[in-house]
């Protein structure tokens, strides 16, 4: 247990925003690369929803462009689940299943936040995320209960992603006063709800819940995996190379 690094409303909003923003950036990678044209469109739309959620939250903290394009890696508070490479379609769908199940629970709870922006964003987002969760669930079932090859690959994806689930429920980075004040949601309290959404999907998909140790985490503290640097380089290079550019 480390000391809480987030003690105010803005820090919390940034963490929620960064998860959505970085996931959106990974979703955008799939445009022109998905297994079928409809999937290009679907993942682009899902990324767009996430980007919209992130923008509303970032704008409530400061200048959204500066926060997205000019912050250094250590200032980003997103979890490791969303930042790592997802250029395997099975990984992308398993991760979206875990992430959208978690976002569903988080946003449902955040609708009651005492902070009007957090509550407002959550009220919109909870309905959008229901579509994301449904989309990921259908793919995971189709792949898991599909061919031998698709089952093997999506099981591998699950083994790879599962260790990163725990970080979503770690609340040691968050000052408990924010939860007590009704601003933030206690991350630990979301675990049962998330598993209740995910486990039936895995069962229908004939997948086995991995027995793996949790990954180390650290994203909320600004400690990221190697792949975060490459992601930010791509996301930020235009704004940094051409300050103030418009088109």
């Amino acid at each position: 247990m480390s000391a809480p690094v987030v003690t105010d409303r803005d820090g919390y909003a940034l963490a929620v925003a960064d998860d959505a923003l970085i996931s959106a950036q990974r979703m955008g990678w799939w445009i022109s690369r998905a297994p079928q044209l409809e999937e290009d469109v679907a993942l682009a739309n899902i990324g767009l929803d996430q980007l919209g959620q992130a923008r509303a939250l970032l704008a409530s903290v400061g200048d959204e462009d500066e926060l997205a394009y000019l912050r250094d890696e250590r200032a980003f508070r997103n979890v490791h689940l969303v930042e790592r490479d997802q250029s395997d379609f099975g990984v992308a769908m398993v991760r979206l299943l875990l992430f959208s199940a978690w976002q569903s629970e988080l946003y449902a709870a955040l609708r009651a936040s005492s902070d009007p922006t957090l509550a407002g964003v959550a009220g919109k987002a909870v309905k959008e995320v229901a579509y994301h969760l449904d989309h990921a669930s259908r793919w995971v079932v189709r792949l898991g209960d599909g061919t031998g090859e698709s089952h093997r690959r999506v099981q591998d994806a699950l083994e790879q992603e599962w260790p990163f689930l725990d970080e979503l429920f770690d609340g040691s980075w968050l000052d408990s006063a924010l939860v007590d004040q009704g601003v933030a949601v206690d991350p630990a309290g979301l675990r049962d709800g998330v598993l209740a959404r995910v486990l039936p999907v895995l069962e229908e998909a004939t997948l086995t819940v991995p027995e793996v140790s949790p990954a180390r985490g650290g994203g909320r503290q600004g400690l990221h995996t190697e792949q975060m640097g490459y992601l930010l380089a791509e996301m930020q290079h235009l704004a940094r190379s051409h300050p103030g550019a418009t088109w």
């Binding site: 409809e38 919209g52 407002g120 309905k127």
Partner: protein, 160 residues
């Protein structure tokens, strides 16, 4: 106040850039229009989807329409709460959508998860023998469907 009604009429007649048969009033995204005694107009609109790229265009179109109508000071504010729902699309809006070839959304109901869509009527031939081809369509708000009777693809405004 007569002038407020007029500013609201001007604002309400702005068209959605993605579905140019619908006004923002038909869509139910125009929340409030107020005018103060200095002639300043303040418009509140609510986004359909969080990331809907049409919102910026609508903001620009609102300012232009109201400025053209003689209002010199126009501000547009996005309000998130209460969250927009497809239930706010007017009956007139639903009729226009169907005429335009987009199947209107089913009732969202209160606070449920994704609504179960039993069948969507083909806006071209009226058949209910249709199937979803892709849940995500050309914009965030639409899904792609295919009619098995007339074989035509069509957009379905997703229930939200």
């Amino acid at each position: 106040m007569v002038t407020t009604t007029t500013a609201r009429d001007v604002a309400g007649s702005v068209l959605d850039p993605e579905l140019p048969v619908l006004s923002i009033d038909d869509l139910g995204i125009l929340r409030d229009v107020t005018e103060d005694d200095q002639g300043r107009v303040h418009v509140q609109i609510t986004p359909t989807y969080s990331g809907c790229p049409a919102m910026e265009t609508i903001r620009t179109d609102l300012v232009e329409a109201l400025t053209t109508a003689g209002y010199q000071h126009v501000s547009v504010e996005f309000v998130l709460s209460p969250a927009w729902t497809t239930d706010w699309i007017s009956d007139e809006g639903r009729r226009k959508l169907e005429e335009y070839g987009v199947a209107p959304p089913a009732p969202a109901g209160a606070d449920g998860p994704v609504a179960l869509t039993l069948s969507v009527r083909c806006p071209h031939c009226g058949s209910v023998d249709t199937r979803e081809s892709s849940r995500f369509g050309s914009t965030a708000c639409k899904a792609l469907w295919v009619c098995q009777s007339c074989r035509e693809p069509f957009d379905h405004f997703k229930t939200l």
